[in-house]
Amino acid sequence: MTEYIIRRFFMMIPVLLIVTGVLFMLREATPGDPASVAIGQETELNKAEYKATLDNLRAKYDLDKPLALQYGLWVGRAAIGDLGNSYRSNQPVREAISERLPVTLELGGLSLLLSWIIAVPAGVIAARNRNNVRDLGANFVGLLGLSVPNIWMAFILIYFFAVKLQWLPPSGWVRFSDDPLGNLRSVILPVITLGTSGAAVIMRLTRSSLLEVISQDYMRTARAKGLRERAILWRHGMRNALIPITTVVGLELGGLIGGAFIVEQIFSLPGMGKLAVDAIYARDYPIVQGVLLMSTVTYLLANFAVDISYGLLDPRIRYD
């Protein structure tokens, strides 16, 4: 097991190299010199001064060095937590991200929780009532959830709960430390938007993976020895059905991160997604790069954790 964990960990390295390479190359592909972006449009400098400032900035951001060296420096610094400074505000990227991180974590965590609360019982009901009305209903609702665009769902929720009923604020963020209740109110609609879209995928998978387990011999044995239906379902059925479901939770996290970018924008939540999207408009590439690197690494680590947890869920799985 330990050996597997180590091997699986080292397998992430080539992937990380490609991922960082792509992110780095994307900055290279950006039209225009990052240094000139940093100077901004409004400064009025004469030609010589402009040239000098540009050269200064190019040196400061390592833009005067060969490409391979630039990449090496960037990766090396990122590895020790230095993601550079914002071109616009000169704030360290790490600081900007850690300011925004709690918002995204709260949004993502609650959404993931909500989608599990909806999806697992719905999937179990669908599987146990295979092919009857309840199964068809759950299946169809799942497909609906898969097809509803986040952007549409969000505005339907805002329209009914914020504009018409005025129960909840349409957008904005209240910090938990300032006002716990206000924080909850500001996060309800975003969490419903994001949580329901994730629920659809988990529900469909719970159904199909439980269906496969239900037909196994040990389920019949469990029933034959007179176990209560609930014990059969949860202890024998769900524990085995959980394995494929965990995989998808790892992959779902990607959808969650992407969805958070959109949802934060709609509800003006000051999270990482909003930070990145605003930075894209402002062509503030260190911020964009930093956030994308962070979310990709998180995603990689989550899937690493998922792979490891297989062994805990199912001792039969051997890693050789």
Binding site: P14, V19, T30, L143, S147, W152, G259, I280, Y281, L292
Partner: protein
């Protein structure tokens, strides 16, 4: 002996009572037609296609014609779905928006299927180092969380529909490559391929004339399942202003423009979002039905 539990084959509703399949397009259509949800999806998707194809004739107004006297008019006899913040006809813009989403979705899926299939065929057939390198590269591309990667590409290359489409295509082809590689691996060992090789057929001939036709079913399945997702990402990017640029009408940017008038004119965001939903739901239903028809074993794909 008790009869085996009913759940032995996870074929679901769609396949219940399937007769032995006839080959070819006609057989496919005959099986497909029996799937009610799939047919409903086909109707929804057809509506989108008709809207896209006939927008210039169906649209009652020029989608970009600004009318300052008729700003935010509610739906009525003159403008069936009302007007937007610049007095443009919402219905006409939705019809034209269908063109963008459908064009982006279909083109992206076709291109990524072609790239993915080629990579999968080569990797599966060549094996060894080439296979390992190609598949590790695919893994790395799959390691990007979807929309995040699309954002990175549009951030770098600048916001435009073409760049958004490139991003979505790069996201889609690694999945196809994996599936095709799997199919190729098993086909490669079959006798008729060995026979071809013995007869001296060149690798490209074996790949494209013999392996590809036999691997077509999973490719079509993956492609049709991807269409809905591709449309969703396109509309999300357009919503963020990173896809289609104004004044061109697109569903995603219409939802965004309408969000500013949610109180006074909710119909702008509601109807354009509804159009996205209908098209994506249609594509997903058709995708599911195509999978059940062609290859029930891929149910969890």
């Amino acid at each position: 002996m008790a009869s085996p539990p009913a759940a032995v084959d996870d074929s679901g509703v769609a396949l219940a009572g399937t007769r032995p399949r006839r080959a070819g397009v006609i057989g496919f259509l005959a099986t497909f037609r029996r799937q009610r949800l799939g047919m409903a999806g086909a109707v929804m998707l057809s509506l989108t296609i008709i809207a896209a194809a006939t927008a210039p004739w169906l649209a009652p107004y020029d989608p970009n014609k600004i009318d300052p006297l008729r700003v935010l008019e509610s739906p009525g006899a003159q403008h069936w779905l009302g007007t937007d913040g610049l007095g443009r006809d919402v219905l006409s813009r939705i019809l034209y928006g269908a063109r963008v989403s459908l064009y982006a979705g279909v083109l992206v899926v076709s291109v990524s299927m072609i790239i993915g299939t080629t990579i999968g065929l080569v990797a599966g057939y060549a094996g060894g180092l080439i296979d390992a390198l190609l598949m590790r590269a695919m893994d790395a591309l799959l390691a990007f969380p979807g929309l995040v990667f699309a954002l990175a590409v549009t951030a770098a290359l600048g916001p435009s529909l073409t760049n958004a489409m490139i991003a979505i295509a790069v996201l889609s082809f690694p999945g196809a490559a994996r599936v095709v590689r799997g199919a190729t691996l098993s086909l490669r060992e079959r006798d008729f391929i060995t026979a071809e090789r013995v007869l001296g057929a060149s690798p490209p001939r074996i790949l494209f004339r013999h392996i590809l036709p036999n691997a077509l079913a999973p490719i079509i399945v993956i492609g049709s399942l991807r269409l809905g997702g591709a449309i969703l990402i396109e509309t999300s990017l357009s919503f963020l202003g990173l896809g289609v640029q104004p004044p061109q009408a697109s569903w995603g940017s219409m939802v965004n423009e309408g969000s500013r008038f949610l109180e006074r004119a909710p119909w702008i965001s509601m109807t354009s979002g509804g159009a996205i939903f209908l098209a994506v739901l249609g594509a997903n239903l058709v995708g599911d039905a195509v999978r059940d028809t062609l290859d029930p074993r891929l149910r969890n794909a």
